[in-house]
């Protein structure tokens, strides 16, 4: 063969015997781009001409299949003229007709249509959150009236996972937050000789806001994401379908124990975070010459049972929001590992967003109620 090393070429020629597709050159994954001659064709070739064809690998049949698929007038028989092995490969590839309506259609997204799509998606998302919350409430109702069941062992494991096992990270973050608050506060307050009021600042900030919000954010990254990932992989593996067909209600069995565990644990974690955060503030104040006794005495004038229960009260709602976002995203995850990853990301975004939104609503409500 003379053209052993020449670049791959495909040219269409109109000859006496009809339309001929001439293939020549060496077709390799590493070779240069295909030279196409003779333009686009709308007719199936009447014969092939391959006397100049060198070695080829899968790029040639792939190219051929691509071109033949584009042609509108199809024939069931492949024209003669291909080398035997190539002929056999092409017959295999063309053997099962393409399911054209199975192809995923990619509509060109114009500005307006993508806006419309985004709106419908957003609306559907709101709908699914509302529906999921409703289902959860129903499920809770069944639980209270004793008509639903989950395995108590599962519940204890989840409780442990989102309680005790979260203590170290909550402790670390809260300690640092308390210390940062004290440092920042001290710089400002020392200007007025009011260093002692660091105790008020740290105490109020922790019990009203920072304790609950920081714990919630830690828990959405930690536990909410874990809920989404574990329920997501269960749904990808059809385990949730299997629960359904054995007469288990997936809500009662999977969502409810997670929700209950988080709603129970969040207030406790928040109290813990408050204490550690205030302790961190006290340490900093101590190094800046405010003795702990004085700090403590000042702290007691600032916080009282009412304002120190605000954060704990909010944390219950944050816990519910995290559990619902995590479980919702997990349950409606598609059936692949990519979908599980997406579900995890979405659950974290959704729970942090809802925490911030809830917190602002509480801030407004507490201001109006003057607490």
């Amino acid at each position: 063969m003379s053209n052993e090393d020449s670049s791959p070429t495909a040219s269409w020629r109109q000859e006496e015997g009809g339309l001929v597709l001439v293939l020549s050159g060496r077709w390799h994954r590493g070779s240069r781009p295909v030279n196409e001659e003779g333009g686009r064709q709308t007719k199936w070739p009447d014969s092939f001409e391959t006397s100049e064809l060198g070695e080829f690998d899968s790029t040639l049949p792939a190219y051929l299949l691509g071109r033949l698929r584009e042609i509108e007038q199809r024939e069931s028989q492949l024209a003669a003229g291909l080398p035997e092995n190539l002929q056999a490969l092409m017959e295999l590839a063309l053997g099962v007709p393409e399911q054209s309506d199975a192809k995923v259609s990619e509509e060109a997204a114009t500005g307006l249509s993508s806006l419309g799509k985004a709106t419908t998606h957003a609306w559907e998302a709101v709908g699914s959150v509302v529906e999921f919350t409703g289902q959860t409430v129903l499920s809770f109702g069944r639980f209270v009236t004793g008509r639903s069941s989950f395995r108590s062992r599962d519940f204890w494991l989840i409780l442990q996972g989102c309680g005790v096992q979260a203590l170290p990270i909550v402790a670390l973050i809260s300690l640092l937050i308390g210390m940062i608050l004290a440092f920042v506060g001290n710089i400002q307050l020392a200007n007025f000789g009011a260093d002692l009021y660091v105790a008020d600042l740290v105490g109020l900030a922790m019990v009203r806001e920072m304790g609950a919000v920081m714990t919630a954010i830690i828990m959405s990254g930690r536990t909410g994401a874990a809920f989404a990932a574990s329920l997501g992989s269960m749904s990808a593996n059809q385990e949730i379908d299997a629960l359904r067909t054995f007469g288990f209600n997936p809500f009662d069995f999977l969502v409810l124990p997670r929700l209950l565990a988080l709603v129970l644990m969040m207030p406790l974690l928040t109290i813990f975070s408050n204490i550690i955060g205030i302790f961190g503030g006290m340490l900093v104040a101590w190094t800046l010459h405010t003795p702990p006794e004085l700090f403590y005495a000042e702290l007691l004038t600032a916080i009282n049972p009412t304002n120190s229960s605000l954060g704990v009260f909010k944390s219950v709602f944050f816990g519910a929001a995290i559990a619902v976002s995590g479980c919702l995203q997990g349950m409606k995850a598609g059936n692949s590992s990519v979908a599980v990853g997406d579900a995890t990301t979405r659950s974290v975004v959704a729970s942090i967003t809802s925490i911030v939104v809830l917190d602002s609503m509480f801030a407004i409500a507490f201001t109006i109620l003057d607490i």
Binding site: D101, M234, E239, F248
Partner: protein, 248 residues
């Protein structure tokens, strides 16, 4: 009266119609095979039969009662009588094999823990998994997962057993044992069995009724006893399928 009746069933994902106008009956104690090329909608049909997917149109009836339009509570009653094995096994990965089988038994009976365990061990033994009771699904092979899935489907001695490609991925001996098990279940418990399978040897050994789904026409091509269809079906594609591509 037919155990399961399917009337004018059309299955679709959005606007993509998988199969249309399916009509067939499954009688009590039938071993009914769903056949067809890969990707033609066999698993999807199974999901319609057990209520995991809603028909685009048409109905599924059990003992003449409408399952498709039943209220959730009523549906629950039907579903209690099913045992299902999924194509992927779908064992609960956080539970051991024995616990996988025990869970439905605990949920639906009042048996003491010891008896539940005994039942689970027995069901695993039936599928040749004695000794693997305390392994987790991730610790056993694909074929073993599948067999454990079959054991779980049989956990509650179901009235109707649905198996999605139970013998795919099994060695010839295990797959032979499985055929015997299915026949035994029918004969001793009187179960009706609906199986998706491509395995011709197994189809001719156990099935007495079948449906053939055609990928090209997107509807059923034949129903009836596969042994009879092999030689006498008026559809050449069905005959070809049942003769492994050789045209008789």
């Amino acid at each position: 009266m037919a155990k399961v009746s399917v009337r004018d069933l059309t299955m679709a994902f959005g606007s993509y119609v998988v199969m249309r106008d399916l009509n067939f009956d499954i009688s009590e104690r039938d071993i009914f095979v769903i056949m067809g090329g890969s990707g033609c909608g066999k698993s999807t049909l199974l999901r319609h039969l057990i209520g995991l997917k809603e028909p685009a149109s048409g109905r599924v009836l059990y003992d003449g009662e409408d399952f498709t339009s039943a209220e959730p509570d009523q549906r629950e009653r039907f579903i209690r009588r099913f045992g299902v094995m999924y194509q992927s096994g779908a064992l609960w990965t956080s539970l051991t094999l024995a616990e996988n089988i025990a869970l439905p038994i605990e949920q639906h009976t009042e048996l003491p823990a010891k008896d539940v365990r005994e039942l689970a061990v027995y069901k695993l033994a039936l599928v040749g998994l004695s000794g693997y009771e305390d392994y987790y699904p991730a610790q056993v092979s694909g074929g073993m997962n599948k067999r454990a899935g079959i054991a779980r489907a049989m956990a509650l001695d179901p009235d109707i057993l649905f198996l999605d490609e139970p013998s795919a991925g099994l060695d010839p001996l295990s797959s032979r044992r499985l055929d015997e098990l299915i026949l035994q279940l029918r004969d001793t418990l009187g179960s009706t069995v609906v199986v998706v399978t491509h395995e011709l040897a197994s189809i001719f050994a156990i099935a007495n009724n079948s449906i053939f789904l055609n990928t090209v026409t997107r509807t059923q091509s034949a129903t009836g006893d596969p042994k009879w269809l092999r030689d006498h079906s008026d559809n050449s594609m069905v005959r070809e399928f049942l003769n492994r591509g050789a045209t008789p």
